[in-house]
Amino acid sequence: MRHVISLLIENEAGALSRVTGLFSARAYNIESLTVAPTEDPSMSRITIVSVGSDDIIEQITKQLNKLIEVIKVVDISEAAHIERELMLVKVRATGKDREEMKRMSEIFRGRIIDVTETTYVIELTGNTAKLDSFIEAIDRSLILETVRTGVCGIGRGDRILKV
């Protein structure tokens, strides 16, 4: 099962490596990982997407909680939540493909944020499935480069992860 684990951690040098080190040492899987400071700069928030049985996910959350610098851990995918990911795609945009790319970008509610005579950079946000479908929908041979941030997530409604 796929799980989205959110955690608050002290914003200190080396804290991230404790998290990633834990995953590799215990052979847990990381699909994606995002990290940035929160509104309180002394804390960072990490979102990890991992795949594993319920037992493994339970161990992951317990082991994360055990790290001294980790303040709080929540498996936000246990209940209603929102996931978003940002993708930048650089595509070849010449001749008839130029118009087609613009159209596809509009359909997926993307934005073209860099234009040259031969290329576009398209910015797209959404959940993982949406970004995947965009890649599927356009002509693969026109993709020059893609970069994705990985998932960040937040609980819906009253579910709040805060100290």
């Binding site: 951690i9 002290e10 040098a13 080396g14 490596s17 404790r18 080190g21 040492a25 037992d55 339970e58 161990q59 317990k62 082991q63 909680n65 055990k66 001294i68 610098e69 980790v70 303040i71 100290v163």
Partner: protein, 568 residues
């Protein structure tokens, strides 16, 4: 008051009432050593290898309720210490390691004797710190001591760059160091404790299984009270020996890979299992799938939530400090109108006594060659069961665990988790320093002892009268045993050729050496050795090289699939 970083380090150690620092000097820690030199409250023990320093601090910690402290220099000082740190981590031993680091400005430049200490030790410490600001030095050391001994204990490393130890700043030792991210639970959940009491009192075939947590949290008294109150059988893990008196009739022996027949059978066939400060590891329950074949209700008390339901599904998890939780259990049981099911428990005991009847630890007592079991039994008799016993890793370790009956906690020091050969002698030094005048024995093998043999020199310098009980079979015995049983008698590299003359070796370090070759001489030699209260005596026992440790559960098999000595 304004102090240098090095002065602050020593002040902090004094504030923490540290008696001994085990260490080895080097470039990056010279300022700290200079300050050590200028005072006499904290005594420094100069080892001969950094691994020895950490094991000695470890032995000191295991045999007391205090934090062990080691001091090493940067680079090779740290890498040599890593085995010791990992050993302490696996067994949750409270320890603070202070390491020197190259000056701040040199970090990352591949400077002389530079390693990424925080990176190298990260997976084998409870926590570690690199001190980059002298203002944070005192509070970091305070945090290190607090972390090392609270919650589930463990080693904490503080890496101090050389320039930080020379800088000056205003010093004040903080009384406490609140950490929003670290709040270990101590009080067990009352609802869960109630459920546990109910299960325990309804049990038909109850079993109590306790581990190193009982020793580390000083919960032995509370455990004994609870076990006596219930009248149920109790087993200890290798790490938990001494947590319950081995000579008591409710004790069914150690369990696990080399546990007794009765302990393993009872563990497998019980219907309610109370696990106390133990973690169901592979050497204890064997294959979890086999273990799960018999349905049973499991109550698991541990300070570390991640130890619960890690290898075995638990029905009643209780996270908390053992003495508190065991006390709560005792009180609730006393207050309850229910009583244990006497009839069922009597039948269960009958079954256990039948298993006991197998006498799984019997061995050939008429042998003309010295049997290792005989040596340990005599060691037990000669020391009246009062010795502090350290061991290395291998057959001798198992024989010591099986045949020395530990009645008290903190008397048995061994590397149970990491299985570190070389642990025994330096650990015995730490134990002897913590308990001057008490008998300390290091049970070892000719393979293990050579892994930290250099510490004989340290023992001479500080006059540590450790008694080394070497069970010499000329083989890496446990390796040979596995090769005999599972690899078609092909003894690949397990025969140790060209052994030193241990008597002369001991003498060359300035100690007393004795070689014992006949069963009839074992007792006399041990008596003679322990009579020499001021001498380190190195006893080299020529034991039967074909002797194996039984019972044995092969790795990956179920607990009841034991190989017994009589079956061979």
């Amino acid at each position: 008051m304004v102090l240098t970083g090095a002065e602050i380090v020593i002040r902090c150690l004094q504030e923490e009432k540290v008696e001994y620092v085990f260490g080895y000097p080097g470039g990056s820690v010279l300022f700290i050593y200079d300050e050590l030199f200028k005072q006499d409250k904290v005594r420094h023990i100069l080892v001969r290898h950094e691994q020895g320093a950490v094991h000695a601090a470890d032995g000191y910690a295991r045999s007391t309720e205090k934090v062990g402290v080691a001091l090493v220099t940067s680079g090779p000082g740290v890498t040599n210490a890593v085995t010791g740190i990992a050993t302490a981590y696996m067994d949750s031993i409270p320890m603070v390691i202070i390491s020197g680091q190259v000056p701040t400005a040199y970090i990352g430049q591949d400077a002389f004797q530079e390693v990424d200490t925080v990176g190298i030790t990260r997976p084998c410490v409870k926590h570690n710190f690199l001190v980059k600001d002298i203002q944070e030095l005192a509070s970091t050391i305070k945090k290190a001591f607090y972390l090392a001994q609270s919650g589930r204990p463990g080693p904490v490393l503080v890496d101090i760059p050389k320039d930080i130890s020379a800088m000056k700043c205003e010093y004040a030792y903080p009384k406490s160091v609140p950490m929003r991210s670290y709040n270990p639970v101590t009080k067990g959940h009352q609802g869960q404790i109630k459920k546990a009491v109910q299960l325990l009192l309804e049990a038909k075939r109850p079993m109590i299984y306790t581990g190193g947590g009982v020793i580390l949290s000083d919960a032995a008294d509370k455990l004994i009270k609870l076990v006596k109150q219930l009248g149920y059988p109790v087993t200890n893990t290798l790490m938990g020996l001494g947590g319950y008196p081995a000579t008591d009739k409710q004790f069914v022996g150690m369990l696990g890979m080399h546990g007794t027949y009765e302990a393993n059978m009872a563990m497998q066939h019980c219907d309610v299992l109370l696990a106390v400060g133990a973690r169901f590891d592979d050497r204890v329950i064997g294959n979890p799938a086999n273990f799960a074949e018999v349905p049973r209700k499991i109550i698991h008390i541990d300070i570390d939530p991640s130890s619960i339901s890690k290898r075995v599904k638990v029905d009643v998890p209780i996270v908390g400090d053992l003495p508190e939780v065991l006390d709560d259990l005792s009180k609730l049981i006393a207050a309850s109108s229910d009583r244990p099911d006497e009839k069922a428990v009597k039948t269960w005991w009958k079954q256990i006594d039948e298993w006991r009847g197998k006498d799984c630890l019997k061995y050939d007592r008429k042998s003309k060659i010295i049997k290792p079991q005989h040596v340990i039994e005599k060691l037990y008799e000669v020391t009246k069961g009062e010795a502090f016993v350290t061991s290395d890793v291998g057959q001798h370790q198992m024989w010591a665990a099986q045949y020395y009956k530990f009645d008290k906690p903190r008397r048995w020091m061994n590397s149970g988790g990491l299985g570190t050969m070389g642990f025994g002698l330096p650990a015995a030094m730490g134990v002897q320093l913590a308990h001057p005048g008490s008998p300390v024995a290091c049970v070892t093998g000719e393979g293990s002892i050579q892994m930290c043999i250099q510490e004989l020199s340290t023992c001479k310098q500080y006059r540590l009268p450790v008694k080394i009980v070497l069970l010499n079979n000329g083989f890496l015995g446990m390796v040979r045993q596995w090769q005999q049983l599972f690899h078609g008698n092909r003894y690949a590299e397990s025969y140790v050729d060209a052994l030193p003359d241990f008597v002369k070796l001991a003498e060359s370090y300035g100690h007393v050496g004795m070689r014992v070759e006949k069963p009839g001489d074992v007792e006399g030699a041990l008596k003679e050795a322990f009579k020499r209260k001021d001498d380190l005596v190195f006893l080299d026992f020529a034991i039967d090289p074909t002797e194996n440790v039984y019972p044995m559960v092969q790795g990956g098999k179920g607990l009841t699939e034991m190989i017994l000595s009589e079956e061979l």
